[in-house]
Amino acid sequence: MMRRIGRRKSPQPSLKAIWRAHIDDHPIGLAWSPDGKLLAAAGVSGPITLFYGADGVVHRKLPGHPLGTMAISWHKDSRLLASVGQDGKVRLWDTKIGTQTAEMAGGASWVERVAFSPAGDLLVSAAGRKLRMWNANGELNCEFPDANSTITDIKWRNNGKQFAISAYNGVVLYAPSEAEPLNRFEWQGSTLTLEWSPDGRHIATGDQDSTVHFWHVESGQDLQMWGYETKVLELAWSFNSRYLATGGGTQAVIWDCSGKGPENTRPIMLEGHQRLIKHLKFQRQGMLLASGGNDGLLAIWEIEKKKPVLLADAVFKTPIAGLAWSPDDRRIAVSDENGILSIAAAQ
């Protein structure tokens, strides 16, 4: 349930829930269809629920994966949805009619990652060390050589010309047309997640050893940020590639990458969470940043002139399990571990 907490500066727009729903499971993925009409919420036990974004009415409920769904990704046509799970499968769903259109073997018992290319013509999946690329019909397009260890993340560059994976030992860069990697950005540590800067010039990673890295894609130069409280799983770039928000603690740390970059600069700190921050999301075209933590706090911040301003907040009873800005940036979807799903207006 949402309620506002006191002690904040006025005037602030309040965070009002437009609709709420409950999925009776721990949500592991929240994803708006690119046209903003549907919101997909996957539960850890498997089923994927498709809500109408406008009012929260359930459009379809897809069975997902027996034993559990791990990740979902929308096709840009807003009709096809890919999912992967602990049954070792990659599945494609026609969300309009609610049927499965393809089922593919991921290559290992847990398929953990999936990502449609920006154009929607290609889909990359990762299961253990297996990296496979499919077309939108579910036909195998390429099987890449096995990664050195379990692949922890896959992200496409905005222009669709490259994608990167993370694993123990850093980041590996691929072009969809070649099986051999384009480049490797090596770090002797377990890299857990990666994010391309929207301009494609940098790849940020969060690592198990409590570091954040900025890889300059062209030169392969690494800039390391130390001193996080814990492993870093939360990374978010602002749309203009200026700010990188990072978690890995109770305070979000925001690096200003403008000018000469974040090296030797003092980052912006977001103070307000009592427990570890687990989710950070910038708007797609705006400067609002949403943070969600294990304390159940959802906070919306505005980052202006190096100062964070808390605009609105809400407290859930259990830790925040997912955040997603709508494609038009006007609404934010948030779920907690109890399966409460709430859609609020940003402004």
Binding site: V44, M70, E112, G128, S149, T150, Y168, G189, S190
Partner: protein
Amino acid sequence: MMNTVETRVPVTVLTGFLGAGKTTLLNRVLTENHGKRIAVIENEFGEIGIDNDLVIGAEEEIFEMNNGCICCTVRGDLIRILSHLMKRRDKFDYIMVETTGMADPGPVAQTFYVDDDMQDKLLLDAIVTVVDAKHIWEHIDDSDEAKEQVAFADVILLNKIDLVAPEDLDRLEARIKSMNSMAKICRTRDAVVEMDNILNVGGFNLDRALEIDPKFMEPEYPFEWSGIYELSAGSYEWVMGEGPDPVMGAALLPLSNNGLVAKEATLMDAVLTFSEDEQAVQAGETLRLGNGQHNQLVLNGKGETVFNFVIQQPGCYMLFTEHHPDEFDAHLCGTDAVLVPLETREYKPDHEHDEEVTSVGIALPGDFHLERLNGWLSQLLRVHGQDIFRMKGVLSVRGWDKRFVFQGVHMLFDGRPDRPWANEPRHNKMVFIGRNLDRAALEEGFRACLVS
């Protein structure tokens, strides 16, 4: 925040060489009617549900948390699988992690200390090592993995006892205890064991270790016995019968008076004397008296052997013997009678086989200065972390009404207050298990952290 209500899910780590009986034990755990919902993570691929339980396959993936630091190696696959498992609504009462036969248990155990999500939701309950009582001898002397699996264990199942003679089993148990005096040892056949012995054992139970071996906390000595005799000037004979060994170390030291301080001082002299090279003393020869005189009494093959000595300065003397005199039916004779010692003491012997892997237990009265203790422990683990496999303790901290309990794996440790001391006398107990441990240095460091 001090949270005293334990909400974390207990985890048992199962180790043991290939063929020792881990799978048999796992199958028992999964089929036994214990009323618990158990998730098992094993080395096979796949995920299967068995009634209420769940078996998940894992591909062992070990990595270093910090560049090059072996003590900070963890199992990345476990972090991923367990993080996911903890999100499930169908909560599990218990998690068991099976390691491969050749695995070093360190990285598995460390995983539960170094990752915040793991520490938040899971509690390493115990490391259970299954030992093949028949074949362990092939590994125990030269396999680091076998030694580490024994050293890390909270519970050791000596399995396949039906294939081994009882005396060999006793020998094996003694050997294992010399390496890890803290573990609870269960003798099993076909891995049949009460679930209470392996689930929710609270590996931390130091009191239990004391129950098993009350001498455990005492320092070890190079001799097993001492006797105090009041001797007047004259000649004496030390007469020994046949015994378990053809030779026996002995030292005869003057004791200035019968007070405790004097006895402790002489005891220290005896330890030093026993560290000198021994000098052989044949039948009929003189047993040398005084500090630094480490006699090695050489027995006749058959019958009694007599050693002589002469006392010039009347007074009290302490005779230290490597073995208990009863084992050799040994006695001290004056001119016309067998002498009875004024008092005797038995000592916990050290282990002559010179075990690389040993346990050191330290018990001290007093209260700890928490900061000093933290500083010392951090320093100790920084320097010796690779050699210290496990560490446990129950301590009395100045100003705290609760017991401070901690346990560690290599360089990592987790300490927290648990129940109040209440009527229990406050005390400090600490156990280290590891390679080449220096008892004196550990005790000295530990003692320096007391509030003076």
